[in-house]
Symmetry: C2
Subunit: 314 residues, 2 copies
């Protein structure tokens, strides 16, 4: 056994022995002399895909309002992509983690905190930002529309909630020489708000060979979104759709009290698919808890109100 193994890490609080390197330096001496060097370094931005669900008013007072999935975008007030819409985000500072940067951006833009936040993916395509080398560490946040109040940030000309639609346009499959294949799916991402409509087509390519498999996303066309943010939004929607089915993630989009029909509408708007009532209720039964409250004056039979069940997570 090497003697250096006798050390403990600084994490458990013990002192390190003074192991010396090839230059005869202890770790302390090494670090004192260490200079960050001239390696080029990237900027790292934390970009946020902030989802919420809103009600679309109905003409018929008896009918329930339709739900809509919305994402917060900010119109760029400076170059590059001046005038385009972008995800809220900002550069990570040396005194904070990417999570903290995401939290900070979130509370700057929406004034909310204590919400569901999840790291999505780190995008690093070269040239994704025309200014300089920038990676995007992206996050997804889910917030209850009831407690939001959008504020325009510093360099943002404007901020708006865009209704999200993400639909499969077409699929293809191309065989490779070695028996593998590439499956492609084109999705249309359509974002609509009072400020207009943005559209992008994002292609998801799944390359499958004998030994490997990999999935990559590519923005095929893009009308109105800045940077590679169409790709990030597409990725976020796919993550959200995936997780809705086996976690209680969707409950973070609900207010404190809600009906099961409202919850079902949220699932339906996320999945872009109708669900059967009875099966849905069985499925979410463990995720929610009954209360003794009911809806009132709704023009039809009142509905029991539920809250998120904090116990019993898997």
């Amino acid at each position: 056994m090497l003697s250096v193994r006798a050390e403990r890490t600084r994490l458990d609080g013990d002192k390190k022995m003074d192991v010396r390197d090839r230059d005869g330096l202890t770790e302390r001496e090494f670090l004192e002399r260490y200079s960050a060097g001239d390696y080029e370094r990237p900027s790292v931005a934390a970009d946020m895909v902030i989802f919420t669900v809103t009600d679309e008013e109905e003409d018929n007072y008896r009918k329930l309002p339709e739900k809509e999935l919305r994402v917060l975008l900010i119109q760029r007030g400076g170059h590059p992509y001046l005038g385009r819409w972008a995800l809220p985000g900002g550069f990570v500072r040396p005194t904070e983690t990417t999570e903290q940067a995401a939290q900070r951006e979130l509370s700057e833009e929406t004034g909310v905190d204590n919400v569901y936040l999840e790291q999505l993916y780190t995008f690093s395509d070269i040239g994704r930002d025309p200014r300089t080398w920038v990676m995007s560490c992206s996050y997804m946040a889910l917030i209850d529309a009831g407690k939001v109040q959008v504020r325009a940030g510093d360099d943002a000309a404007n901020a708006a909630w865009f209704k999200v639609a993400y639909r499969l346009l077409g699929e293809g499959k191309e065989l490779l020489k070695d028996g593998g294949y590439v499956r492609t799916q084109q999705h249309e991402l359509r974002l609509v708000s009072e400020h207009g409509e943005l559209t992008a087509i994002v292609e998801r390519a799944q390359t499958v060979t004998e030994t490997a498999s990999c999935t990559s996303y590519r923005v095929v066309s893009n009308d109105g979104l800045a940077f590679d943010h169409a790709k990030i939004i597409a990725y976020a929607i796919e993550r959200l759709r995936g997780k809705v089915n086996y976690t209680d993630i969707a409950l973070h989009l609900m207010p404190k009290l809600f009906t099961l029909t409202e919850l079902q509408q949220v699932y339906e708007v996320i999945l872009d698919k109708e669900l059967l009532k009875a099966a849905f209720r069985r499925k979410v039964a463990d995720l929610v808890a009954e209360t003794d409250h009911y809806t009132e004056n709704v023009g039809h039979r009142p509905s029991r109100l539920y809250r998120r069940n904090l116990e019993e997570l898997r």
Copy 2:
């Protein structure tokens, strides 16, 4: 509609209109004048959790060899953490994406390419590297032990495959004032090779409140691993365990031809749990394809060999 919306993105190849910003600059002029500025920037490393499965020889020639899950570690030849074991990895260069950096590291360390590679998570705790501000964009690779041949890299004193054991030690639950709670799980990560044994305890804390939920990992104790790599390995194992159940990910650990029993052993060693044969075979039936080959000279009934079924992925 704002006139700037008439632009197309550079992605679809159209020219941009010359929109001018507050300073009267077009985007081209802005970019020509842009200087990266003096914001401090982090270094970004791509760190690899490279898994494989090996056979443990049996004394009884008739018995099947046991499978072991292994991870590749490199003994550090310089400060910091001189002598400790670390994940293979390196800094991302300005001319490559994090994926490409991961690929590069992988092929430098193991000589393989065209393997399963998946981005895991970007770790950015402040102080995680004592030298300077370094984030780790971590990747998981799965390779078939048959085609590996470990090479020691430049600044690596040594490289070795460590047998992985990751076990739940204990759980706790602490109630918060506002009705939420924190659930903690302590896992022991034990890594064993001919170079010795490394042990760490990683705590997974799940904070659940009325509105939010978040999970964080913390290294409680650590004997022999460098940086926060215990956390990264724990995260990788949890990802692997999760995905094994609903994808064909485990097949990337298999050679071209394998028996269903071998595949079951791989599932068992990943999940650290025994599975029932009949149910297992039904479950993987769609993921594999029969061949007409059989094992030979095994001291008992021969077994049909299968290969990965490339079609029919979900």
